[in-house]
Symmetry: C2
Subunit: 556 residues, 2 copies
């Protein structure tokens, strides 16, 4: 057990789509030098994380070993890969490497969160390398949906690893060069010990379609629209924003970008020379100088987010612009599971205005940025790795991807978040298990997913809150109150009386009869009060609210 | 304005899928005699109705006119058509008519809610009629997915109305007879003034498929499974339960029904002679006497509901039965928008156990119970009504269905919840607008959707709660406290101190300096306290909790 080994440990992304964070290590057991690939976020929902701003991986395992952490590598600028980089920097303190566009995104995040943006270094693509500890890491360009997306070659004393990152095999992308099969074949020459491979679309049976296939459809839709044309997609899908803008321009429209994130991403791409040929855009303030039928807006809010441009437009106005009958609204996007209700609300609100909506039911206006099942098989065959380790997927995706690998004669290795694998030898072996949690950004504070705070909030959401206060004097023999306030409960109960009255009556009886004796006996008065309130509210309303009891002592 | 007229007023179902409740009236304006067709519920979600049990239509308009309400007709036994019948009976007090199977469902609901079940009368199908006031109503059998589903013929002095209810045009259903085109053509002979028509699948471009087309696929899936086979669908989709059971039996399996709703619906159908040929089932207690590979379970929980059999099985055990690697779990259902996350959780949990999941991605194991676009057009042509009034759809469905009617030479009439239409004459005319809300069953209580209770709960869910109490004596000059309790907030704030400490400090300062003067001046002390707490919590945590302040007066 004292020889060097190569380990792999996903802290996020292997068991969900989002929150990517993958650790690689090389060295003697428990003395391995480490690198981290990606450090992303996920987004909250009312069902499991109400009120939360962002969801981070729990990197405490890594933070406790930050003296062994050589560097952080970011494959591309999407939130699920770069979003947590600034929030965890103070715990990890490792240099961050990325290609220039991604580095720019990461630096903005560092700056906005009061972290040193010079911790981020921009690096050139393959064949350039970053040498850190026992690792030599290169960024290999590959098609996705954002500029400078890369897979990583990670050379180690135990051989070459390839971390695919997010990818598709696109021969006619609208951003960057096409998938370069020869380049990727050349990576396999020295042999590949393991491929950590995107699993998002492992259930998609057909070959993926190219981003380039969309423009004709979009242009036709724009030409068919007699009013204003509005399209939405993820702001971070820079390729799609470009496809939309170019198709709109071909159809004779002036392009206007709306929504902070949309403008920011597109401007960064233009400024960095990644999209020199992006159509010139109209400023929102100048929109009124153009006839509606000559305009195409590209807006945020493809997932029906309440505050984004699309939802605001569907409710009436946004930035002084309103939609009218005869306008068209295009979802050039796919609804992420869980967001359906929000998207349908936007569609129905547009329907009320008389706007024609092209939803995501057709494949003509959206392609995925991820490799489908046959594309994954092709990538396996290009790299011919000893191990195929599925990443970037829910449990079902990872399991299916392992089966795909095994069925085609490769060794699929299943590793979900927290499962450390030893990949040094001819066989992969489990090397331990780490408890991985989730950290929530909640306003300004970081809270643990299992701290009980969220559990309490969900209980408040379902059953409301009752605050009870009782006052005793210093000798415990004069008692005032009780007073009671409810939130999130009906005013009256089944008896027809106000809830607060019946509770105060119940507690009054209790106080007269039992309270002093219990206090004297050191009994749990708070618990007793809570039980009385709980019972009465259940009888009156059938609800189980959270009950806060304060017993206040007054006087000297 | 003093001549009789025929009116139509949807109180639910025209603007959503669920909560069906349609009023028809005939008579002099504001003296019309009324009937109600269907009285259904919808189901809550965390985003907009946390903690709620059921969503009812607001029938207060009708309750205020219950002396004019002749009867309630229920088209079929699905919850979105019959679910609210018992909860609103005490307000409406009208006789309820339905075919025997549906009447049985309605009676059970009445009984369970302490309402008189003899208010429900079972009636024979067309050509039998129920004569109520100026209306003559007949139940016309039509294919859907539950026994004895019917459309209604409503003859009025202004001509014949046809209320389609839920329907599909199925020539080989597994329950009841096939769609009888000749019968439906015969309904059109006297001319149809208006067709109120199901809009659920107006966006589905191809002809609907028959329930009968599924059995071969399901049988094949069962034969291909080496372990236990488990399938889920809606318990109320009695046709599907039958298809599943028969396919399983053909594949040599013993059938076991699991989940209260599943057994209840199937038993009722068998007992009433509607499914005499239903395969004999194994009792759950006897399951252990059968080898796993000879069993097929049909279970509740097709929407990933946490407490249903499927979610329980995915978490480990249910009724002593656990799933094992090599078992198969089939979703013979479609995921309703908004339920995706729950369904994916179940699928991933099964994946962790090693169970093969057949999700709803394939069309082989599920068909819709509703007519697709070409089927709707066919129904229009069979009945050739003067007006086509889309029902049973969100706004976008109704709008699209009106367009479909208009494009094919009919007169589509758009009427969303609360829009009263006068359908007496050769042209349809708006005849008023009613405010329609939603009533929530919340534990035992009925609350209004806009009473503020749910708004408060959503705010509690996002930002938690702070209870503050301050005590003053009867002369307002001795003050104790303040005391503070938080729920759903992190214990410490950004300053590193416990939130409750910093709040109590702030309030202490305020009380020393300003409190007495404000009280003396009759200022709003509560508001002032709330502002201080709000400001501090925002500074410490970035959150905006609900703040309950109680100022308690003690002493004589």
């Amino acid at each position: 057990m004292n020889t060097e080994r190569l380990i792999y440990l996903p802290l996020g992304g292997a068991g969900e789509i989002g929150i990517n964070a993958y650790v690689y290590g090389y060295g003697k057991p428990n003395r391995e030098r480490l690198i981290l690939v990606d450090l992303g976020v996920a987004f909250p929902d009312m069902d499991s994380s109400p009120g939360v701003n962002l969801i981070f991986p729990d990197v405490s395992w890594l933070a406790e070993r930050s003296d062994r952490l050589e560097a952080i590598f970011i494959t591309h600028g999407h939130e699920d890969h770069v979003g947590a980089v600034a929030h965890h920097y103070s715990e990890l303190h490792a240099p961050i490497y990325a290609r220039p566009f991604t580095a720019n995104v990461a630096r903005m995040k560092m700056y906005e969160n009061g972290q040193p943006d010079d911790a981020v270094s921009a690096v050139e693509p393959w064949p350039a390398r970053v040498e850190v500890g026992p690792f030599s890491v290169g960024f290999v360009p590959i098609t996705h949906s954002i500029p400078e997306n890369s897979g990583l070659v990670i050379d180690t004393p135990c051989g070459r690893l390839v971390h695919s990152g997010d990818f598709k095999l696109d021969s006619s992308p609208v951003l960057g060069g096409p998938f370069d099969e020869n380049l990727w074949r050349s990576l396999a020459k020295p042999g590949v010990q393991a491929l950590m491979c995107d699993s998002t679309n492992v259930f998609a049976a057909n070959e993926g379609r190219s981003e380039g296939s969309l423009s004709a459809h979009i242009e036709r839709a724009v030409l068919g629209c007699k009013g204003m044309f509005v399209a939405t997609t993820f702001a971070s899908n820079v390729a799609r924003v470009k496809t939309l803008a170019e198709s709109g321009e071909k159809a004779g429209r002036k392009i206007c970008l709306m929504g902070r994130a949309m403008k920011r991403m597109a401007n960064a791409s233009v400024k960095m020379g990644i999209m020199p040929e992006f159509p010139s855009t109209v400023d929102i303030r100048d929109i009124k100088n153009h006839p509606r039928e000559e305009l195409m807006l590209i807006v945020t809010g493809s997932q029906g987010e309440r505050r984004a441009a699309s939802a605001q437009l569907s409710k009436g106005k946004y930035n002084g612009i309103s939609m009218k009958p005869g306008d068209t609204f295009l979802f050039s996007s796919k609804t992420i599971p869980g967001n359906e209700r929000g998207v349908l609300r936007v569609i129905n609100d547009f329907s009320k205005i008389g706007v024609n909506v092209i939803d995501d039911a057709s494949d003509d206006y959206h392609v995925s940025g991820h490799a489908n099942r046959p594309d994954l098989a092709r990538m396996h065959d290009i790299l011919k790795p000893r191990f195929i380790v599925p990443i970037h997927g829910e449990h079902r995706h990872l399991r299916e991807h392992v089966a795909l690998a095994n069925n085609r004669g490769y060794r699929g290795v299943f590793s979900a978040n927290g499962m450390m694998m030893d990949l040094s030898g001819p066989e992969a072996a489990e090397a331990g298990h780490i408890d991985v949690g989730r950290i929530y950004l909640d306003g300004k504070m970081k809270i643990g997913a299992y701290d009980g705070i969220i559990r309490d909030r969900l209980s408040l959401a379902r059953d409301g809150h009752v605050a009870v206060s009782v006052v005793v004097d210093s000798h415990m023999d004069t008692i005032y109150g009780p007073w009671c306030k409810t939130v999130g409960l009906s005013r009256d109960g089944a008896s027809g009386s106000p809830l607060t009255d019946v509770i105060e009556d119940d507690l009054g009886d209790f106080i007269d009869k039992t309270f002093k004796r219990l206090l004297a006996e050191d009994g749990d008065v708070e618990d007793e009060i809570r039980a009385i309130v709980r019972k009465r509210i259940m009888a009156e309303t059938g609800k189980r609210p959270h009950i806060s009891v304060s017993i206040n002592q007054v006087g000297e």
